[in-house]
């Protein structure tokens, strides 16, 4: 017997591609633009959101029958805020430099549309195990796009990956820089992140025509 049923598998795998929170539902764009100039920050952001969404979905799912529907948004906010503060404190304690890079954007996970969206759309109507899988799946889909964007922005913008100078040293002119290559400063600016997101959406939709909206 498989560990996960077919439905459970699709809960995890769908958001990775055909129902991706960023490229299909166009949620969580702000953080995708703000913190993807470095790959490391993208990875940490992806993991933080994975923790918050996975745990949050479970908590909301467990409480779904006792939350009065009139005040459910405020309850959801309390849950997210508690989880985000935990993430923030952990980052400050163990990765202080990185938490400075991410600065306000860790706190802004609270307002990440994906999180409230999944609470509303899934956790309020499903059991804890499925909600957990849904949370992991959606945050993985979010994280995947973040890491792709972070990869290209750091590689082309700074010539490094996770801080390693993979293209050579721009000051001592080694590697690619010896033949006249230069870093693309535009890649470090947010508009280019938006364009990279657009290119990913373009590639995805040209490979899967079913995703193209009628207009």
């Amino acid at each position: 017997m498989a560990l996960l049923s077919k439905k459970d598998t699709s809960l995890i795998l769908d958001p990775l591609a055909d129902n991706n929170p960023i490229t299909i539902q166009v949620l969580g764009i702000c953080s995708a633009l703000a913190i993807t100039a470095e790959l490391k920050a993208s990875i940490v952001m992806a993991l933080s959101v994975m923790f918050v969404l996975g745990m949050g979905n479970v908590v909301i799912s467990l409480m779904r029958n006792i939350i009065p529907s009139k005040i459910r948004i405020i309850v959801q906010l309390v849950v997210v805020a508690a989880l985000v503060i935990m993430v923030d404190q952990v980052l400050k304690a163990f990765a202080y430099e990185l938490s400075k890079t991410l600065s306000v954007f860790v706190g802004l996970i609270i307002t990440n549309c994906i999180i409230m969206g999944r609470f509303e759309a899934f956790a309020l109507a499903n059991g804890p195990w499925r909600s957990f899988l849904d949370g992991i799946g959606n945050s993985a889909g979010y994280g995947l796009i973040l890491i792709i964007i972070g990869f290209f922005r750091e590689l082309l913008g700074s010539g490094t990956l996770l801080g390693y100078k993979v293209l050579g040293d721009p000051i001592e002119k080694t590697g690619l820089y010896a033949i006249g290559y230069e870093n693309n400063g535009f890649m470090l600016l947010s508009p280019m992140a938006l364009i990279v997101v657009g290119l990913i959406i373009w590639v995805q939709r040209s490979r899967n025509k079913a995703l193209i909206e009628e207009n």
Partner: protein, 422 residues
Amino acid sequence: MSLKSNLHNLKEKYKGKKMAPAFNAIHTFLYAPNETTHSGSHVRAVDDLKRTMNTVIMALVPVLIFGIFNAGYQHYAAVDAANGVVRQASLFGNFLTWENFIMGAWTVLPLVIVSYAVGLAVEFLFAVIKGHEVEEGYLVTGMLVPLIVPIDTPLWMLAVAVVFGVVIGKEVFGGTGMNILNPALTIRAFLFFAYPTWMSGDKVWVHQAVDLAGGPDAISGETILGYLAQGKEAEMSYSVSDMFFGFIPGSVGETSTILILLGGLFLIYSKIASWRIMVSAVIGALVMGLIFNGVVDAGWITETSKFYGLMSFAFWQHLIVGGLAFGIVYMATDPVTGAQTNKGKWYYGFFIGFISVLIRVFNPAYPEGVFLAILLMNVFAPTIDHYVVRGNINKRLKRAKNATILPRDGEGKAQELKAETV
């Protein structure tokens, strides 16, 4: 059989094939196609898109040739200056020389070739993939791009920027005629944000200045706006006539205001470009320049202010330095990205001139803002048109409401109606 009918037969033979658009593009570039419209009323005119584009290119050719000579001239002038000799520009004495031409052609023509080769390759690629005809939009863009970049821009950077500009600036919106932003300026903006060290400073405007930097033969050439932004106008040895005729450092084609002026008159005469945009942009720039001059005259800023150099620059001289004239004549008047309504063109042009000078003075990193101003107004052009059209509709609605409708039967009823409607 003539070449023309041969080409026509080939076209019929390969109709519907994948490479057909690429072939048709070359075919119609050489000849008018054989097909004629058989039904309906139609206008016979020769000014199709290709002809329009070619007219603009003709207006650009003098600027390009001047740019070639100036590239060589600025190089040798900078070498002289490094040796302590101050050159006085004279057109036939030391400007139109073979030495300058060869040096200039050797550096400018590769820019032109790369721009056209890469841009047209992208254009043909998209036409073949999407199966539509190749559009002529790149003909002008390809000529504009080498004219608005610094002389020593590395060719690979130009190629990357052209791919970016044509794909993101134009093709993603649906190709020629559908783009929001001027592709040539998108390319310029990409270069500016991606590789700022190659786009500003006192080393990029003179050929070989970057290569020779730091050595014993180091040369440099600051633009006039660069001198002003650093408050070094006293070191500047250019006269107003140098600025007007274009014997100054700058992007390849932007320096010669007189040739740009002639090109602009030619475009207005041939009705290709809108005189409304040009005139209102000039007015806008003058107004902003006057405001800055007024601020200086009123004594609101002191000579220690970092804006003093640019703000105290005589308002009309803004028009003859930097890329303002080139931008107004060849870029702001792009019929696709500009405002379409006549009234809208006045607003559109005015704000281009106004904002250009504003950015030029206040941009701390780079004392030029024409391309940013035009891109900004490209974005606002549809909004301007929308309000002009709405305004017109409202005006006519009001007129229709107040109009007296005279019915056929009798005077009495007409009076009654009039009393009701007014």
